[in-house]
Amino acid sequence: MEEFLQHSLNGLSFGSIYALVALGYTMVYGILGMINFAHSEIYMMGAFMCYYFALWMGFQTPSPINFTLGLLFAGLMAGAIGFLVEKFAYKPLRKSPKMNSLITAIGVSILFQYGGQIIFGANPKSFPTLIEDQNLFEIAGSQIHLIDLLIYGVSALALLGLHFIIYKTQTGRAMRAVSSRPDMSPLMGIDNNKIISMTFIIGSVLAGIAAVLVSIKYPKIDPMMGSKIGMSAFVAAVFGGIGSLHGAIIGGLMLGVGEYYLIGYGASTYRDALSFTVLILILLYKPTGLFGSQLKEKI
């Protein structure tokens, strides 16, 4: 029972990360109908930006201020990178067949991974300790770490912020408009290009924040770190119903917890296959995902 609780708590903290990354996929898919394969590389760049920021600022001792600064910087830079990728790689292809933007997305993703290996080096780097981890308290025999609490807290804040932007502001209203009828929204005075850029930026900021949180918990970063988490997060998005924000969050949490049970109960070599198995089952039996509201269309 203790073990079960511990796995659940770990799973929840990893699941919140999946949820943050999955939101980026689901938002871009909702607005452009395209799988943004480069999203996992933006996540990776977030971690590296924070790493170099910490080196450059000379962060020696862990402190909450350093942590906050690192988090904000990574979020900002990831947002900027997401904006640039959209502007230079995807925007010229807005009018061409979807296949072309998909191929470009894969190209961008590989370019970041291997370009990163040349620029940052292929060996894993150890991430600076921005904040000291400690056991805060125990619930029913399982320990609650500060970092896990931070992950829950920061993810919850980010999700609340996102919810506020999407449902309470003018930009969010415009995003929902573009997502439901991209051909009609310009008639209502919405600049589609601006809204699409905005979507990429918001998704990328969330990915950058997620990257820093993960890197503090598992302080090894390398240029390939994005691909695995990116795939799992994408699966989480499909699981929850791609295009649905709440679906992405719940899908991410469930997938994270599921993976930790697999690891905890001794099938860790099959962990990588889990998310894809889930994906295939979802596509077979409930293709719209848990919360997918879109009408069922063929191919």
Binding site: G33, M34, I35, A89, P92, L93, S96, P97, K98, M99, N100, S101, L102, I103, T104, I106, G107, V108, S109, I110, L111, Q113, Y114, G115, Q117, I118, A122, S227, M231, F234, V235, V238, I242, T269, Y270, D272, A273, S275, F276, T277, L279, I280, L281, L283, L284, P287, T288, K296, E297, K298, I299
Partner: protein, 324 residues
Amino acid sequence: MIRMIQISRWTQALIFLIGFLILGIALHFFLNSYIHAILISFMINAIMALSLNFITGLADQFSLGHAGLMAVGAYTSALLSKELLSDHWFFIPLTVLAAGLVTSFVGYLVSLPSFKLKGDYLAIVTLGMAEIVRVLILNWNSVGGPRGYNAIIKFPNFLLSYSFSVFVLVVTFVVLFRLKKSWYGRNLWALNEDDIAAEVMGLDLVQSKRNAFIISSFFAGIGGGVYAHHLGYISPGSFSFLISVQILIMAVLGGLGSMSGSVIAAFILTILPEVLRSLPTGSVDVRMIVYPIILILMMILRPQGLLGRMELLEFLRSKNWIRS
């Protein structure tokens, strides 16, 4: 008009066959084993690119897991020849054919969940399939697990293995080429142009695309089989995501929908890394920098690839470089 196309189609195949055979005999006597190995890997690449081009170029469905299908074919063929067929090179064509059949069954299984929704789900499912295949092989000890499967039977000399590869490549090319020009290929084209109109005309969208993926998987498995018996050693690492990307870029560079384009692109992209080998990039595989740049630039500047949908002769004719 019809008669003329028919002649040029056969001439095309014949030119390939004779040219390759003469080249093979010449190479067998005059060149070293390095060139031999490159030549065979060009043909394997071409088979894989053709296979991918059929599903991506003609059926407009994206597969990111062709390396996984290739792995299924390679391991099937290697296992069959080692465990069942007494390890004799004479049986290689048989096991390769069996590999194709097994892989097309895997392709059928993959196609079941993939065509339920509009969108690029085949890309994700195939990506996942490749990953699942890799994880299963890693955990499967009797085929070596992560150490790889070695001492697979090979052809005794270059000329035999060359002729076999040429034979497989030509068969792949001719079958896929004729399928493209057939009633079925035109159905796929119609479905790409306007699926609703095509369905109104009585075409079955899901079934057509599913069949296209099964055919594509068959040839991917064949390619994997040839690969296994060419190298004599396979490991889960030989079928990584990078291989899928490499196959994809060949199909895209040649022109999606152009079978001869795929062969040409496979040739270029097999030679290119050998030329780039001297560049100083440390431990990083330079191909993986050059490939994505080619991909992105191609998509922005010339999204239809070298030949577009046209075949080589059609392309040359359209440019008035040869008389029709």
